[in-house]
């Protein structure tokens, strides 16, 4: 019987049976459109909405934690229902990811929903980074004969740096940076609204702009100099983005380079992006640029690794694994590699692994884990849960 794998993120749910090649990607929110009075759009139903301007979002997650269980249930009802995965919970074992340091009340909420409402047969609770560590250890890591992995999970709500030794999470060394994709999108919205056009209500659009045009700089001061130039002086950074009008242009796009700077066609509304392209993702590396009193990703990686004794440090530097949607920015991996090599206290082989699909990697890892010979040891059946409650997970779950 296939298992149901649910990587339940604050921005998107990655859900699918263990027999599937890849998961279905479902936004973890309910959207309401100005143009549609009659229906709320659950998850990926938003793809049916023609005019996505001014969407209003109802989210189960806040700051990376599932605080609105009732909203989550509405979205899961859709995911498990016959239009999407058509799950028969009483005959299904489910694997779910939860955030690190999940609050006890919220852990109870997950269990209560899955066992008491849906009546799943059994449950395995893990995290995205634990699934990624497992996957890495049976694939890339296997030739390296390594026992240590540093997983960097850069998601929507926040970023976690999570060290693993022999597959076990070193909980006291986990560090969280309160910057993820959401803060970047909101920051981009804020500066575009101030400099060019009011877009504070256009999260959906600006998220696409961010994905289409932003990148992580590998030479910040040089990029600053290039972006200060005029277009005619060979500013290779500036881009123009044609906004959707939701009739002839359904989705925005980057204007062809040879058209940049030319007059807009009558129906085109254009955003001009210059230093925004790289100063926005820069928040991941310098949260203090906007006043968040925390170190950035590279500094935190080095700080976490340096807190371990000498022989172990080498293994961590050699096995840094990046996952999560926000690690998809061009230049992200190169920047981390560059910074970490520069700042490591020891001469170490530094290797940063970026999976082909950082968004799906944890789901793929959880799927592989569900096929492991030892998997059943990490599950709790509904009967056991009814007897022992949350305590049934005490020794087998690292949340």
């Amino acid at each position: 019987m296939p298992k149901l794998i649910l990587d339940n993120g604050g921005y998107s749910i990655k859900a699918g049976f263990s027999t599937a090649e890849k998961p279905r990607l479902i936004p973890n929110c309910i959207s309401k459109a100005r143009s549609e009075r009659r229906r709320p759009f659950i998850g990926d139903q938003i793809d049916d909405c023609r005019d996505t301007s001014g969407l209003f979002f109802i989210l189960p997650f806040q700051k990376g934690y599932m605080v609105n269980a009732d909203t989550q249930k509405t979205i899961w009802d859709y995911c498990f229902g016959k239009d999407v995965l058509d799950v028969t919970p009483t005959e299904t074992d489910i694997v779910i990811t939860e955030p690190h340091f999940n609050f006890k009340t919220l852990q109870e909420a997950v269990c209560e929903l899955l066992f008491e409402e849906y009546e799943f047969r059994s449950l395995c609770r893990t995290s995205s980074s634990t699934s990624a560590d497992y996957y890495y250890s049976i694939t890339e890591g296997i030739q390296k004969k390594t026992s240590c992995t540093l997983v960097v999970d850069c998601g929507y709500s926040f970023t976690h740096i999570v060290p693993y030794v022999n597959g076990v999470k070193v909980t006291e060394s986990v560090r969280r940076i309160d910057v993820g994709g959401k803060a970047l999108t909101n920051h981009l919205k804020e500066i575009i609204s101030y400099r060019q056009l009011h877009v504070l209500d256009e999260t959906y659009l600006i998220n696409q702009v961010k994905e289409d045009v932003c990148y992580v700089s590998t030479d910040f001061s040089q990029d600053v100099e290039v972006s200060k130039k005029k277009l005619s002086e060979n500013n290779t950074i500036v881009r123009e983005y044609v906004l959707p009008d939701y009739s002839s242009i359904r989705r925005g796009y980057i204007r062809k380079l040879e058209e940049t700077g030319k007059r807009a066609k009558d129906n085109e509304q254009i955003l001009r992006l210059n230093n925004e392209r790289f100063t926005v993702p820069e928040l991941l590396f310098h949260p203090s640029d906007v006043g968040i009193p925390q170190m950035g990703i590279s500094e935190a990686i080095v700080t976490v690794i340096e807190s371990f004794p000498e022989p172990i440090k080498h293994h961590f530097y050699d096995n840094i694994v990046l996952i999560g949607g926000t690690s998809c920015f061009p230049g992200f991996k190169e920047r981390i590699l560059h910074d970490v090599r520069r700042d490591a206290s020891i001469y170490a082989d530094t290797n940063v692994f970026l999976p082909t699909n950082p968004t799906f990697y944890a789901w793929e890892g959880a799927k592989k884990f569900s096929q492991d010979a030892e998997f059943s040891k990490y599950t709790v059946s509904r009967n056991t849960y009814n007897e022992k409650g949350l305590n049934a997970f005490a020794k087998i779950c690292d949340i």
Binding site: A33, D70, A109, T171, M295
Partner: protein, 151 residues
């Protein structure tokens, strides 16, 4: 209040530390915000139209059991995230927990960027502390942001 602000010219006003802190806090909260406008059609009870799992799927949970209403989950589990963080800190001071896992401040020197154009800047606006890089940007700053929206 509005009258008083009229009498004092803006150049004479200087934001105190508390006001600057409030402004900064507001900016940080905005980075977390999901929506910046009101819910459209909030008056309509839309959830009624959403199919429930049990109705849409005959193979769902055993029929004899009555499903709990969404009100039940709202009441039992809906808690503000800040309340959860505070409660946990009281219960588990030592950690490791959410609070102890937060990354510490950077040891690198802070960088400053012009609030107007986004390029590196080296000047601070005297009334509000905002950063600017040139006289041109200072002028824009004064005309748009400087002491506006400060309650």
């Amino acid at each position: 209040m509005a009258q008083r602000e009229h009498r004092i010219t803006s150049s004479a006003r200087i934001l105190d530390a508390a006001a600057r802190y409030r402004r900064q806090k507001k900016a940080l909260e905005a980075l977390e915000q999901d929506n910046f406008h009101d819910e459209p059609h909030a008056d309509l009870v839309m959830s009624k139209k959403v199919p429930k799992f049990q109705e849409s799927n005959e193979k769902g949970p055993t029929k004899k059991k009555k499903q709990r209403s969404s009100e039940y989950f709202k009441l039992k589990f809906r808690k503000a995230i800040n309340t959860l963080i505070e409660e946990e800190q009281l219960e588990n001071v030592e950690g490791p927990n959410y609070s102890t896992a937060g990354a510490p401040p950077s040891k690198l020197p802070p960088r400053s960027f012009c609030t107007v154009c986004g390029f590196p800047s080296s000047y601070n606006c005297i009334p509000c502390g905002g950063k600017y890089c040139s006289l041109k940007c200072l002028k824009t700053h004064q005309d748009t942001r400087c002491l506006k929206w400060t309650a």
